[in-house]
Amino acid sequence: MFDETIAEARRQVEICNACRYCEGYCDVFPALMRLRDHDDGDIVQLANLCHNCRGCYYACQYVPPHEFAINLPAVLAEVRVESWERHAWPRRFARLFQRNGVAVAGLLIVAIALLLLMAQAVPSASGEDFYAVLSHGTMVALFLPAFVLPLVSVAVSLRRYWAEIGGGPLRPTDVLRAASDSMRLRNLSGGQGQGCNFEAEDRFSNRRRRFHQAMLWGFLLCFASTASGTVLHYGFGLEAPYGFWSLPKLLGVPGGVLLVIGCSGLAWLKTQADASLGAVFAWGGEMAFVLLLGLTGLTGLALYASASTTALPVLLAIHLGTVLAFFLLLPFSKMTHAFYRLAALTADASARR
């Protein structure tokens, strides 16, 4: 299965290498042009560099039914998703969740139910608000492993990826360059800022880039909010709930709003786009993941709005359930693309040097 996909990608990549018309769209083409022969690792690296902007599909004079049957965005998406599955550890989870929206929803329900049960079981003790429902200690006991273990898993996968693509020693300048490329989504710019061809066929638009940026920055703000809360808690003995003018809220509220806007936008665009230019088998899993991420933001905001009301315990359980599901799925869902993308951009920065 994987070998076939790689072979098909190689066939297409070699046609592109003879053509090169798309050289100005993204980093994939200069990368493929640096080589004459492309081994499996090269193809996997190209696949993880591709941002699925689809510029090269609509510009291609060889798309099906032409006998060259070029659909580079789709075949690279397939190689990409399959590479995440192959390197995932434990592997069977990846196959389950990456391709299956229902499984993602199922995990979410289980996580929420678990939190609801725990909330009822724990005798409401000391704290106010949150900790009246679920003690801080319980939360940490649950979330620390749920956060650390997936990261360990991602680290294992990335090592395997790096070995497969033949990555060299890491240089900080390359990592910085990759980080800046991914923050700006340079590879969704169409090469000249006109954007990509996602939701309106051959017309260019920056919607996907903007929504993805909202999602990314929203996510990072939410993450920073949680981190700042942890610091306040342990470093300064300041416990939740925090007021509006506190760091966790100043970061978290705009973060949540951006996350919700970004994820709803991306989900909507996904319904407009032609699914056959992506990994068709992963559509459901990807969609479920975007919605889940959006839900973490939405339930977080709802939780904030419901402070000191009777809805709080239930909302807290739902919010924490979504967060738990999100973390558990980190290595086994679309989320993993963030890590691979960074790695691929780093490797590319080093190859360009």
Partner: protein, 460 residues
């Protein structure tokens, strides 16, 4: 229902789109009739990558400057004087305004593609290639309210006296007549009609491959000529290059080109050499090799290199055949092994020591064989040996409609009242033979725009 359009544009490539956009911007109601389905819209234009543009000082992606006289001299050189100077200079001078016009209508440019740096001063490359250009124009056309019908072939142009009155089409809903007040013909050449090609060139043409769209079958051209329209250009000639012999009959496009000839020994079906492979750098020679191969038995030839030369040229779409011995390679191609061995042995013996420079004319020439190889003559000795088959790939035909500088087509009694032509359909009015890279799109853009403006002015 009878339809009545201001301007009917026949064809859906670059020239047609430029005409349609200009006409619509002048207020005309425009209909585009494209014989190809939507995925194949854009004719040969969708296979292109650049256009040649005069410029006084750096312009967009173009470096330095490229003046009218230099441009014209370049054209004269390739056409060996078979050029209409007035029209050619009109195209050249107008090309400078075309670039900003193209950008304003959605076309994006990029610096010359890697491997084509020599064109960075003279040719502006389209970001994403010709299909991206065609897409941009279709989007602009849609925004301007231009109607487009795909899968709709014009089979007859109705002319009463000197006046065009409408077209007959064969489309998804069958045959229909559509009335119009002016026509722009931009339907390309006739190379898609192999029978016509064979009538004109001879039976050898049946073995030619067509590099571009199968939809340019010359149906409108023939219909116009049958009605007495004046033709230009040599009806027996076409622009042809040597391409990979494994390419499909139609639409193989740019990726079927082969750049290996200068580093090869090229033999025919009988294992014999027939021309100096190293006469000049490949961009200056690929066009004559189309004819050279066409003159060989079976219209096929074989380029043979050794392992040292494999990385000296751009990769092509199909991997080369290979074998550890020359006889083995010959057998794979169905060539007589002894003859190939003998030809290469004699070639190798004629090679001399000296510096080999793949990117320049290095003067490394054979001695004592005919034909000589006058550059890059390095012996073929290091296995594995690689080979490509070569066939003649037709780019376009020269026969076309005669136009004046306002793009108006001439009929038996002088100019028609309301018929204009643009692009490949009339390019024979400008060049009688030869071809200058990027000039086809320039002709189409300049004359397309003129035709669109004139047609719109006529109906106003």
């Amino acid at each position: 229902m009878t339809e009545d359009w201001d301007v009917i544009v026949i064809g859906g490539g670059n020239a047609a789109l430029c005409a349609a956009i200009e006409a619509a911007e002048s207020g005309a109601r425009v209909l585009i009739l494209e014989s190809a389905p939507k995925v194949y819209r854009g004719g040969n234009s969708r296979h292109t990558r650049n256009f040649r543009c005069m410029h006084d000082g750096p312009l967009s992606v173009l470096t330095d400057s490229y003046g009218e006289d230099e441009y014209f001299d370049d054209l004269l050189r390739v056409t060996k004087g078979e050029t209409d100077e007035t029209l050619a200079r009109l195209v050249i001078r107008s090309s400078e305004d075309c670039l900003p016009w193209m950008e304003a209508h959605g076309v994006r440019f990029q610096p010359s593609l890697s491997g084509t740096l020599s064109l960075g001063r003279t040719n502006a490359f389209f970001l994403g290639g010709g299909k991206a250009l065609v897409n941009a124009y279709y989007a602009t056309a849609e925004d301007l309210g231009i109607a487009v019908r795909y899968d709709t072939e014009v089979t007859h142009v109705t002319i009463e006296g000197d006046r065009f009155t409408g077209v007959r089409v064969r489309g998804p809903d069958g045959v229909a007549d559509i009335a119009g007040r002016a026509a722009v013909i931009a339907a390309g050449g006739f190379q898609g009609d192999i029978d016509w090609l064979a009538d004109a060139w001879g039976p050898a043409a049946r073995n030619f491959l067509i590099r571009g769209t199968p939809y340019n079958r010359g149906v409108v051209l023939r219909d116009m000529l049958d009605q007495g329209a004046i033709s230009v250009g040599d009806p027996t000639q076409c622009h042809a290059v040597a391409i990979d012999g494994r390419a499909s009959k139609f639409d193989g496009g740019i990726v079927t080109r082969l750049d290996c000839v200068p580093f090869s020994v090229v033999v025919n079906k009988d294992g014999q050499r027939f021309y100096d492979e190293g006469e000049d750098v490949w961009p200056k020679r690929y066009a004559i090799w189309g004819r050279l191969v066409a003159a060989q038995p079976g219209q096929v030839a074989y380029a043979i290199i050794d392992s040292r030369s494999l990385d000296l040229f751009m990769p092509s779409v199909f991997p080369p055949e290979n074998a550890d011995t020359l006889e083995g390679l010959a057998t794979k191609f169905g060539l007589p092994p002894e003859a190939v061995r003998d030809t290469i042995d004699r070639f190798n013996a004629a090679c001399r020591d000296g510096p080999f420079h793949p990117t320049d004319l290095d003067g490394l020439t054979t001695q004592g064989i005919a034909p000589a190889k006058t550059n890059w003559a390095r012996p073929i000795t290091e296995p594995p040996f690689y080979g490509y088959s070569l066939r003649t790939g037709v780019t376009f035909t020269y026969l076309g409609l005669k136009v004046d500088k306002s793009a108006r087509v001439s009929g038996p009694k002088g100019r028609y009242d309301n018929i204009w032509a643009a692009g490949e359909t009339m390019a024979g009015s400008i060049l009688g033979q030869g071809y200058l890279a990027g000039f086809g799109m320039t002709i189409g853009t300049v004359f397309g725009r003129i035709a669109g403006q004139e047609a719109a002015a006529h109906v106003r």
